[in-house]
Each structure stands twice: as C-alpha cells, then as structure tokens.
Symmetry: C2
Subunit: 484 residues, 2 copies
C-alpha cells in the first residue's frame, strides 16, 4: 500500500469531482491550476450539471469516465461522500485503476462531530478496501513541480513561465492555511520560490507524515525536507524515521506547541498533546533535525539547503561592505556558539591588505572584514575570491548595502562569476545579504537566477548560516554525508 504514495506525484490522468465553471469555486481553480501547470496527462472534470468545464468534457460520475483514472480529487460537499464513494467502488469493480484520492473537501473529522467522523470513516475504510490511499480530508492538495501536478485551489499569482520548474525542496504542512500562505508568499519573492513537492496533509485520516517521509527519503529530487507539525500521535515512530533520514538529507521543522498556551491552541485545533514538545525538542537537537522559530527562517533555511553546498566545517568568515550591518550581523552570529570564526592564512591577510581600499579593516576581530563604503565592484569580488580560496574558510557570509553609485548589474554578475569559479573546486556556501528593498531587486534577481539564495537582512542570513553549520557538524559527528 505504501507503494501507491508515488501516484500522488505522478498520476496517469486525474478526475476532479466537484469541478466547476464558476471562477469563484475551488472546483474551478483546481482544474485551472492543472491547466496552467501544464499537467501532461488527461483531466476529467466530474459534474453532472455541466457538459464542458474549462474546455474538457464533464462526466456525471467518476464511474462514467471511459479511460484510465489514477487520481481522484474530491472538492464536493462532505455530505455527498457516501454517494461518491459508491461511484468509486463501482468504478474499481469494473476498472480497478484508481490509486489515490486527494480529498480537498472539508467537513469531516475536523468538525469533531459524530457526523464528521462517520464521513471520514466512510471515505477511508472504503478506499482501503481497494488499496486506494487518501490525502486529507480538509487539505489544500498536492503539488509536484517536476511532474506538473497541482491539485490545490490556491491562486499564487505566480507567472505561468515559472510553474513547473521544480526545485529540491519538498514540504509537508499539517495546516492548510499555513501551506497556502507559504505558497503565495513564495510566489511573491524576487525569484519565485520553487518546490519539488508540496503537500498539505489535512486531517491525516489515511496518509500521514510517516508515509510521506518514507517516500521523500528515497526521492532523489528532494534535497531538503520542510515540515510544519502541530502534533502527531505516533511520535516515537516519526522521530525514529526522521533520525534515519537526517543522516541522508536535511530536515527543517517548524513545530508549534512550544509553550503551554500554544499547545492548548494546537490541542483545540488538531487534538495534539502538550507535553510532547519537550521530547521533540531534545530529540531534534540530538538527531540533527533543524528546528526553526519563524516562517521567514523556515523558508530561508529551506532555500539555502536546496541551493547551497553544506559547509565542510564550522569556520565562517563575515565579509561586509558596511560597518553597521556588519557589526549587527557579528552580534547575531556570535550567539551561536558552535560557529568558529575563520582565522585566515597569512597569504590571505597580505593579499587583502594589498587589494582593499585604505579604509578597509580586517581580522579585527578574526573572521571579520569591513571593506568599507568606498569598496568598488572589484574590491567586492577580490575579497570574496581571496576568502573563498582560503583553506581555513568553510563558508562566507557577505553583506553589501549597494551604494547609489556602484554599478548594480556589474556587482551582481561579478559576485556570481567569482562564486561559480571557486565552486568548481571548492564546496563552500556563500550567504549574500543584499540590503535595500526595491533598489537592489535587480541584483537579487540576477544572483538568485544563478542559483544562489539572497537575504534581505544580516540577521536572517546569520540564522541560516548557523543552521547549515549545525547540520554540517551533525553529519561530521556521525561520519555521514548528504546523499542528494
């Protein structure tokens, strides 16, 4: 049965039960998202009141589709579940083709009424009889950017040319609202954020964290896993599995219920338990699972793990073109005691002294250089090259507040080509902080389009660098290596 999980991400043909011609309905947006995504197989809208939906023939029931259907998306009122399940059962007896159901509809177990629980039972138990796996109910759906599947009813405003590019981040969210806001936020970034797989897990009536993590463990397109967790009944099993996966690829977790009041709120939402959090927290620390504290940190960290190499050690160099932001960043970094600030070699010191403008100051303290507001593009790239080349440096965090008179495109391209040149023979991350809102939007776009994440503020980059170093130390301790 676990095997069927793969069909959530690459089904041959999709039926959308509850499809609609009304753009104000979720049943319209789902079909429209599949079209915009360029889903390569067939789409079968199911709605007995329509002849055609968005250019496709509409069928009265799932049973009537005269072709293979591997995925069924349900976006119908929950009270119709009994009838729909009958259609599905009839279909299975004849065609035996459905592998997965995404139940986007709400009105099931989350109502905490007898009726809601009964509907959920009907959905799951009858599906199980045929080996069909169910996502949800009460979820916003599944996205696979490689296979061009998007069953969500979230309109992200992402330009169509960015749809389906795919990245290495796979994300599982226990909250549909958080999932939707992350999708929409990601689509609004200077370079829209690309997920590999994106899963809103809903009520977990059938498919749960363990099913999906076991699948993502061996998915080569998943370079990093992101999780939003409220609570999970089988905590022990989940932790064992995360522990095994973390030795192969990074897992980044936003877990709520840290405080007793937060846990009480979570309990009234998903019925998860309060005391668990301390257990999770200590286990996360021990097993190299990165726990984050904010949505910004979650997204920043996922992007960095996807796009950057993991540093080989904990020696970081902070290179700043601006005094104030540099000092502020050093303050933030120094709170992470496991970071070791690079003591660069004698040769690097001499080269920096020769090349940098007279106002530059470096190695006061060790691991820090302020190349000053008078730094040219050449000063930026020279300094970056010297530091990245130094064998005493495992990674560079670089800050620039692009002065009005520095050529912006040249700076962006210079940084990219310097980093790429060095990356050919050294496996080191660069964390570029490009401060100044829309003024530097072009620069951030050029750098990000070249596969390097950029950061808006020094503290955000500092937290991400710390998270990557923490994971690097964990891998080292266990003689492990990232496998994707």
């Amino acid at each position: 049965m676990v095997d069927n999980i793969k069909f959530f991400f690459n089904p041959e043909n999709i039926a959308v039960v509850g499809a609609s011609n009304n753009p104000q309905k979720a049943g319209y947006v789902i079909v429209n998202n599949l079209i915009k995504m360029g889903y390569p197989n067939k789409i079968f809208p199911v709605n007995s009141k329509e002849e055609n939906i968005l250019g496709f023939k509409s069928y009265p029931t799932v049973y009537d589709i005269n072709d293979k259907v591997e995925m069924v998306v349900l976006i119908t009122p929950s009270k119709e579940i009994k009838r729909i399940i009958e259609d599905i059962e009839n279909r299975m007896k004849k065609w035996n083709d459905i592998k997965v159901i995404v139940c986007a509809a709400a009105g099931f177990g989350e109502l905490k009424t007898e009726e809601g629980r009964e509907r959920e039972r009907i959905l799951v138990e009858n599906s199980r009889k045929y080996g069909i796996r169910v996502m949800g109910p009460n979820c916003i759906g599944v996205i696979d950017n490689y296979n061009r599947v998007d069953t969500t009813f979230v309109e992200t405003l992402m330009p169509p040319e960015n749809k389906g590019k795919g990245g290495g981040i796979s994300f599982i969210s226990q909250s549909g609202a958080l999932a939707a806001s992350i999708l929409m936020w990601g689509a609004s970034q200077p370079v829209p954020l690309q997920f590999n797989k994106f899963i809103s897990i809903g009520n977990m009536a059938d498919v749960d964290f363990i099913d999906l993590l076991e699948y993502l463990e061996n998915d080569d397109n998943t370079r990093v896993i992101g999780l939003y967790i409220e609570g999970y009944p089988k905590a022990g099993e989940l932790i064992d599995l995360m522990r095994r996966i973390a030795l192969k690829k990074p897992i980044v977790v936003l877990k709520v219920g840290r405080t007793s009041r937060g846990a009480a709120a979570a309990n009234s939402h998903t019925g998860s338990l309060a005391g668990e959090d301390r257990v999770y927290d200590s286990v996360f620390r021990q097993y190299g699972i990165i726990r984050v504290n904010s949505i910004d940190e979650l997204m920043d960290t996922l992007q960095a793990f996807d796009r950057l190499p993991i540093p080989e050690g904990n020696r970081l160099f902070l290179l700043s073109q601006a005094g104030g932001p540099g000092i502020f960043c050093m303050d933030t970094l120094s709170q992470f005691e496991f970071i070791d600030f690079s003591i660069i070699g004698k040769k690097s010191r001499e080269r920096l002294r020769e090349l940098l403008p007279p106002m530059a100051s470096f190695c006061k303290p060790e691991g820090y250089a302020d190349i000053s507001a008078s730094a040219t593009v050449q000063h930026h790239t020279d300094a970056l090259e010297i530091l990245m080349d130094d064998s005493e440096v495992d990674g560079v965090l670089m800050i620039t507040v692009v002065p009005t008179f520095l050529p912006k495109k040249e700076l962006a391209e210079g940084l990219v080509s310097t980093y790429k040149r060095i990356k050919k023979h050294k496996n080191k991350p660069l964390f570029p902080v490009i401060m100044a809102g829309n003024w530097v939007k072009d620069i951030r776009e050029i750098i990000e389009e070249n596969g390097i994440p950029t950061f808006e503020t020094p503290d955000r980059a500092a937290r991400v660098a710390a998270n990557m170093i923490k994971y690097s130390l964990f891998l080292k301790k266990h003689n492990a290596e990232r496998q994707v």
Copy 2:
C-alpha cells in the same frame, strides 16, 4: 548653541558645496533630492567649474552667494576642507547667516589617521567659532519630511507623490549604511514608510545623540524615536536623557555590541567600548526603552508606535482565521510573560457563539479564537467588533490568510471601518497580520493607507504587540502618559 539644531530641519536656503551635473556623483543626487522633495526655499549649488547645475546658477564659492544661506551641505573631497572653511569664515564675517553644516563627505576622523583627525578638527573648531553646528562628517545627511528637506545622496526610488508626506517617526543612525538601507527598504514597503525626521549622525564630531534627542524630545511631530547605536562616549548622560524622554514618548533602540565579538567589530568601526552593553541593556529594561533584536522588528515597532494608540493594559486577544498561523502566533506571544491574555466577558462569549461559523473555536485557551477557514468577511468584522468592544480587552492581534474566494477589497474595507468606528470611543491597538505575499498586497495597501500598520507574519506582529504592551506597563508604573 543647542538652539541652532532646529536649522538642520528647516533652514532658509541651502548651499550644496560640491554640487555636480554628473548623475553618478553624490553632489548631483543631493541637489536632485532637494528638488524632488519640493524644498520650498532656495538651493545654491557651489561648483567653480559649472555655470548651472540642474537649472540653478552655480557659484564659485559659498562666499559668492548673494542671498541668505542657513545650511551648507559639504560633499567635497576632504582634502579641500581647509579652503572651504576659509570661504565659510569669510562669509560669516560678512553675512553671519550660516547656522548649520551637513558634512556628507568622508575622509575625516573615521580614517583614524593624523590627517583625518586634523581635517575634522579644522571643520569643527572653526565652525564653533561662529556658532555653526556640524552634522557628520561621514554621514549621509538629514531628511525632514514636513519641511521638505533632503540632503541625502540616497536614491530610494520612492514615488515623488509620497515624498514629503511625513509621519511621526524620527530616526537617528550611527551607521550611514544602515540608514541608507532602511530608507531604501522603507520606500519599498506596500505603503512607503514615512519618516518625520531621518538623521545619519556620522562621526559625531560635533552634533551627537544628546543634541538631537533633546531636540526631538520637544518636537511635537515626533511620536516615536528610533535609534541605531554602536557606541557613545557619554553613556551616563545619554541614558539619563533617554530615561526622561521615555516617560513622554517611546524610544526604540537597535544597539549593537551585545556579544564580545560584535563589540570588537564595533570597536574597530567607531571605537566604542565593549563592556558598556550590559549597562545599556539593564538600563533599557528598567527605563521603558524598547530594545529590539532585528531590523525588521525595529521598523515594525516604529511604525506601530507611530500609527497605533498605546494599549491601556496588557490584556491581548488573538483572533485568527487560520489554525496553524494562530497556534504559531500563540507560541510566540506566550514567550512574553508580561502579556495577559484577555478573559472576555460572558456577553462577548455568547455573541461570538451566535455569530461565528460552526467550525469556529474560541476561548480554548482564553484570549484566543480561531474563526476558521470558512469565516466570511462579516465573521471577520463581527468578531473584531465584539472583541474590541469588550472592556476586558486592551488590544487585538488579528490574523487572516485571505482565502482565494474571500472578496479582498471588501475584507480590507470592512476591517478598516470596524476598527475606525470603535477607535472613536476606545483607545485600543489592532495588529493585523495579512499573510500571503503579493496575493494580499491590495488588502495591505488599503489598510495601511488608512493609518493601520499591517504585518506579513504572525511572529513579527507578536513581537510588536509585546513591545507596545511592555511600554504601556512602563508608563502605567510611573503614572505617565504619552504626550504626543
């Protein structure tokens, strides 16, 4: 001499020494910024090589200007300072009109060379002879949005129609780079951020934190003061003054040098001392000065203090339309032990039960409601009205992840009119979190244009609410009231 400080913000006529016709030069941008700002008095470019600059007659020296000059901006190479000071002295002997100098040029004390220090001495000592106050050197200048002064060479890309609107935030930065990036970042917000006064203080060779704070203390247009501090030699005096001001208006501080390595970096930048930080920190806590930890928190907190009333107590209600983000926010809020979660009255409970959708849950735990994804615009505004009206509630933090099918404009306008209606008779802040990137840009614009700040993530709003409550408790303890 302190009196002359006011001329930085409202000078009659400005001479720009080092003005230029080359758009790549700071001397061009300064003149251009004054024009774009709509500076109402006369602008006199000084450049012996040009006849006209940006449409104005150019003068060979300051001495040659045949009209009143109250402010001189210097953006000339520092090695020319001796000659320029001679021109200024000659002018003062004849006209005695200059009140202030903004020395934007670098190459002075910050070089830490004998030559640099000597130049700084020439600039300041000779100015003092005539009672002229000097800002800088090595600063990016001064902005006054009410009086339409902008001597900076920062291009913010802010649309001209937003220039000069003015707000209630006055900001002093010891770092020019941080100042520039904050200006550019602020201009990039959904509704561009408006400062009242914005001051880059540079080397503080003459005008320093104390001069400016004494001025802002009594400036009625300054509702909140923001500071970026690296270090200051007269810490005792500064703290006494901040203590006095904090009883009248909020002060929000980003102070670096928290860690010994951060302090070392600060020391190599501005020569400030390491050990001081602990003193500052405990004094800030005691005297109601809000210390923030990130640039985001700094800007968010300043905007909230400018636009929102200070809550009358510490009882906060968290109203969320989305489970996950609500729980996450409760987790963040609960870390601030001085927040008391509102236990609303019986009548409010009954009204909420009647009005909200069946899936809503409230007062589990107390001070929290999840109005659920099925909430309509009416549910949003009804719930807000009930809570804001309840005498047991001092402020509301409201989260919405605007679902695809909720009419966005209606929601924004509904929230604004509900809040405004209640604000007429109750003095309570509302902290609206509108999650989902560009998807909700319109909503945020409508709300912000109506004078209510909006937040992108729950944790950012939570920190700001905590900062306002902290200040409210401080005022209460001292029987003090905000005076602007």
